[in-house]
Assembly symmetry: C2
Homo-oligomer: 321 residues x 2
């Protein structure tokens, strides 16, 4: 069993690699090697199998051809430029998120080995005119170029699977919280930092009302789902290989109450409420009323309560002090 993670330098890629290192096997077979690829070669990690790290530019077909070989059994394709970047630079988004995904699928088609491909899609495929709730049968009507490119990735993954070129499975990720690391420019950044920074002993700003709802999944449960996703049997996936991952619909207030329940009253006092109308307007445009029946039927899981999300951050990611 040879596994390749494309986007292996990102935090979901790294956590997937760590989880595979702990597990040692995938789809019932011992892992012989893991290749971590990203635009710059990622750091390696300790594992009971060989770990290769390599730079791969998925927009360059030759680079993809070198990465994916007849030995490759399972590909986790997490590489993408994010929403704000794809919106600012249309060409970069098309190159990485569309051409890059096509390069990976075309390489697999040429090899004729039908590897398992796990693709991370996004709830950004949804929006526009569709009514709530958003189900497995709702049309993607994306309102960002990133969402358009992910929705195209889903269609490609489905058809390449139907034709037997890959054995694909695509998962639309809820907003991941508590995300480790630093705040970034994403409008959703605060959805992790209002929990993460206070647990790190640092102040954080909440730019929206406490009753603002959204749809969340912890990094730990996300990675569990992606690995389970790789292990699903193709016939169980039916005619639609892509689905929304289970998540929890929560208000900011519920998240902060969970923080306090797990870590006591001190961290929440580090949250400053500073209305940022531009951020609030973006977030109000997002959907949070999702159904995920297909993923549940296949055994994929949401977190049980946001208290778990807080605990997972403390156990997995809290910096040593």
């Amino acid at each position: 069993m040879h596994v390749t993670i494309i986007g292996g330098g990102g935090f979901i890629g790294r956590k997937t690699a760590q989880s595979l290192a702990e597990k040692g096997s995938l789809r019932g077979q011992t892992i012989q090697s893991l290749t971590l690829a990203d635009i710059a070669a990622p750091d390696t990690l300790d594992a009971p199998f060989a770990v290769h790290t390599t730079a791969c530019d998925i927009t360059d077909r030759a680079s993809v051809d070198q990465l994916i070989t007849t030995d490759t059994d399972v590909i986790f394709h997490f590489a993408a430029v994010v929403s704000s970047h794809a919106e600012e630079d249309f060409e970069v988004g098309m190159k990485v998120n569309l051409d890059g995904t096509l390069n990976i699928l075309e390489r697999c088609r040429m090899l004729g080995t039908c590897p398992v491909v796990v693709f991370t899609s996004s709830l950004a495929v949804f929006g526009g005119e569709v009514p709530d709730p958003i189900t497995d049968h709702t049309i993607p009507n994306p309102q960002t170029s990133y969402g358009m490119q992910k929705a195209i990735g889903e269609l490609l993954l489905n058809d390449y699977s139907r034709k037997g070129y890959v054995d694909g499975r695509g998962f639309r990720l809820p907003t991941i919280s508590v995300r480790p690391g630093k705040p970034n420019r994403a409008a959703s950044s605060f959805m992790s930092s209002i929990i993460r920074e206070p647990l790190n002993g640092e102040p954080a700003i909440c730019p929206v009302d406490e009753d603002q709802e959204h749809f969340y999944l912890s990094p730990r449960r996300c990675v569990e789902n992606l690995i389970k996703g790789a292990e699903l049997n193709a016939p169980d996936l039916g005619q639609q290989r892509c689905m929304t991952l289970p998540g929890q619909r929560l208000s900011i207030r519920q998240m902060i109450d969970a923080l306090t329940a797990v870590a006591g009253p001190k961290p929440a006092k580090l949250i400053k409420w500073e209305a940022q109308p531009d951020i609030a307007a973006i977030v109000r445009g997002w959907r949070f009323d999702y159904r995920f029946d297909k993923a549940l039927a296949l055994g994929l899981k949401a977190d049980t309560s946001f208290e778990d999300n807080v605990r997972y951050y403390m156990e997995d990611d809290l910096p040593n002090t």
Copy 2:
């Protein structure tokens, strides 16, 4: 007003050109020129404006760049390889239906003139796991590569429109009947030939049961809708530029009854009932329970009864004898 029809050699392209020639204007402006492009230069036609005919290979970006210029105000993009061809030859389907559409949209983006682009999509985008009825909010879950490529075309058209690169509008065509011309290898071919051949005084074979239902639109009404579609105001299209065209759900029996009502009892006697289980199985897999609320709200129309479809064929397409 300069209009270009890509796929101008096909029967929908030709009928659109003829209709524009009769009308003389589009979007409230007098037409100065019409360019008919296809993989081979189409025949010209009589019109009160200049008609140019040219060969254009949409898979070749340079060929597209030559066709579409800063003068181009409205593009009808009808060019595609059909379902069975795209299924047999995956690469040709991807090149024409995906890369070709991208070449057209990218050329428009580079020009910066935001032309109106009318794109013909297909009900082949639907299928798979989605429940009936299929509405404007149903996810495309195509079960052919052609359907996948058309669904991607819809996503691209929407996003290029959202970004202001084109002013797109996409229409999923019902099965067109009565289609002029000869039978072809499409599984749906008999849905026109059981009406057309008897009206031409020739025998025809019906390979399915008389209670088989399907979803139809006449060529005349189809072209009216596509031209109205070009004339819609962008703000009225909202956040979803693509929609199912109105059609009629009919059984084979209802179609034959309409044939008899219009043309008397003789033509129906030329229909031979020869069960073809392979054709019947394909057709049984097709959906026919569609809703088309958005198109209706925008003033697009189905035929009133299949008797009209029969009459339109006799008026527009019956060969002179």
